[in-house]
Symmetry: C2
Subunit: 297 residues, 2 copies
DNA sequence: AGCTTCCATCTGAAAAAAAGATGGATCAAT
DNA sequence: ATTGATCCATCTTTTTTTCAGATGGAAGCT
């Protein structure tokens, strides 16, 4: 087979070290070996990779371009070996993470960048489920790890770890009657409340219910759109209000009574019975470590 | 070097043909060669690629995954050889195409997909210049090919080919005085006209000028936003009006006089002096062939 | 049971790669 | 200008790798 890995390796080393001799030293091979490999490669490709006027070889334009290609080939070979090694180490090949929209996403970018650096061979799938329950996804094996707002008592098969508490804020539209001043409990009850559509039934769902009339909506973001229209009021995490495109049309009136910010727990969940691989364990640890910095409170 | 191209080639062929013997026949090698190569590869990777119970080898889970990786390595090698070949054939390594926003983009996707298939080794850069003139970019060598609305007489260094004619339509906001009925010339002149900011000066610029008061705006899309606000009227290609996000707030009143749609020429331009490579020629031909199907009229 | 086709393994032959030696060229320092 | 170090290309020899052919055991089909 022409254009072999040895040729490419010699070529890349020569380009990197600036001379065939240095490349030979780096690869622990004789200078003549590098010289012939590069010459053969040039012969196979039908062009000159180096200009040999002068003491040291200098990359030609073609050499410059093909150097990048050669690196890719060699890197993909390394990658293949890495994938094989992670197979041996029983690292997961694929990891599905379901994250509730309640989780502030700012930290996710750096977290998953670090994950990619540690586990380059793991395929990662991120779910931001709307109508489906995160714990349901974990329970059914459709997700390996979940980050969710604990609305209900969790099934016993689910292991969990509390990441933190997210305070909810009263929010309504600019022209809503509640926007005028300090709000008390009785006044809240008289207006329509917008709540996230519970994906399962249970008592936790009722804890945050205050008003007589309630509409159920599938997402906090959509709730804010509706709140803006004056359709009702809602309890929404502060960071969602702040990053909403309609935030300028929203008002967060102060509340008259105590314990008024209704904190909800944000939980990291996984399945007790399904064995976790190194990647899942790593990700769980890093999620847990993000607790203080990533979340309010 | 362990994990060689020969090993990967044998592996992929064995997986594709379902047996080592068949792979050997396909690669014109002895069955024993394939067998040894695959065995060595498995040894190097430290895992089994095939399950050998039964008559024919069957891919293991690891084999399945690594097959994809092996294909990538081999493909990248092929790609490198292709890049080298196109260097030899003096194919451009890079092609910059500047396209005026006036050109309807629907056809571009399939066109450039076909380009990628024909010239996989050419780096393509697409420009959709706003304030800069396409012909200027081509003249300065910043773009190899341009598609532009001919506003001016083209410099003699520029070669061109007319792709077609785009009819302009009168457009104004819902509440604009012109929206009420059939419009005549004199009435047009009394209201503010919005025109695309000419990037160079010249007589063609004046041909489309009707009103006494004119505002210059850098893009048709922004013009439509301003038209919607009732700031003035404009002449805009139909396909831009149709695909505008504010199209529901726009009105296109009929005109009383003849020749009322002011067609403008859409030109394919390139530099006469700079030699065109095969990729540029191919792309020019395909652009020209798109004339009938891609444009109105 | 018999036949075919599969795979693994062994052996010797062929090919490829590497090392070592040699000579001509370049560059820097003297 | 000369010297010495270092560079590359090339040749020869040695080592390693690859390949083909032969053989035997196992699987599947009739």
């Amino acid at each position: 087979m022409s254009v072999t890995l040895e040729q490419l390796q010699a070529f890349v080393a020569a380009a990197e070290h600036g001379s065939f001799s240095a490349a030979g030293r780096a690869l622990r091979k004789a200078q003549s070996a590098i010289s012939t490999q590069v010459a053969n490669l040039e012969d196979d490709l039908g062009l000159a990779l180096f200009s040999r006027t002068g003491r040291n070889p200098v990359l030609t334009a073609a050499g410059e371009r093909l150097l990048a290609e050669a690196r890719v080939v060699l890197d993909r070979r390394e990658h293949l070996i890495g994938v094989a090694a992670s197979f041996e180490a029983h690292v997961e090949h694929r990891l599905v993470v379901a994250i509730d929209e309640l989780y502030p996403e700012q930290a996710l970018g750096t977290l998953f960048a670090a994950f990619a650096a540690h586990f380059p061979h793991v395929e990662l799938e991120l779910l931001f489920p709307m109508l489906e329950d995160v714990s349901r996804l974990v329970l059914d094996g459709k997700a390996d790890i979940g980050v969710m707002w604990r609305q209900e008592v969790l099934p016993t098969e689910i292991a969990f770890h509390t990441l933190g508490w997210v305070p909810l804020q009263l929010v309504c539209g600019k022209d809503h009657p509640l926007a005028r001043g300090v709000v008390d409990w009785e006044e809240l009850k008289r207006h329509r409340q917008l709540m996230v559509a519970a994906r399962s039934e249970g008592p936790e769902k009722q804890r945050l219910r205050s008003a007589a009339e309630v509409w159920w909506v599938e997402s906090h973001w959509i709730i804010l759109q509706m709140v803006r229209q004056g359709i009702g009021w809602a309890l929404v995490p502060d960071h969602i209000i702040r990053s909403s495109p309609v935030r300028d049309d929203l008002v967060t009136p102060p509340l008259q009574f105590d314990g008024a910010d209704w904190p909800v727990a944000l939980e990291l969940v996984w399945h007790k019975q399904r064995p976790s691989g190194p990647a899942a364990r790593w990700l769980r640890e890093r999620f847990a470590a993000l607790r203080i910095s990533g979340l309010p409170r």
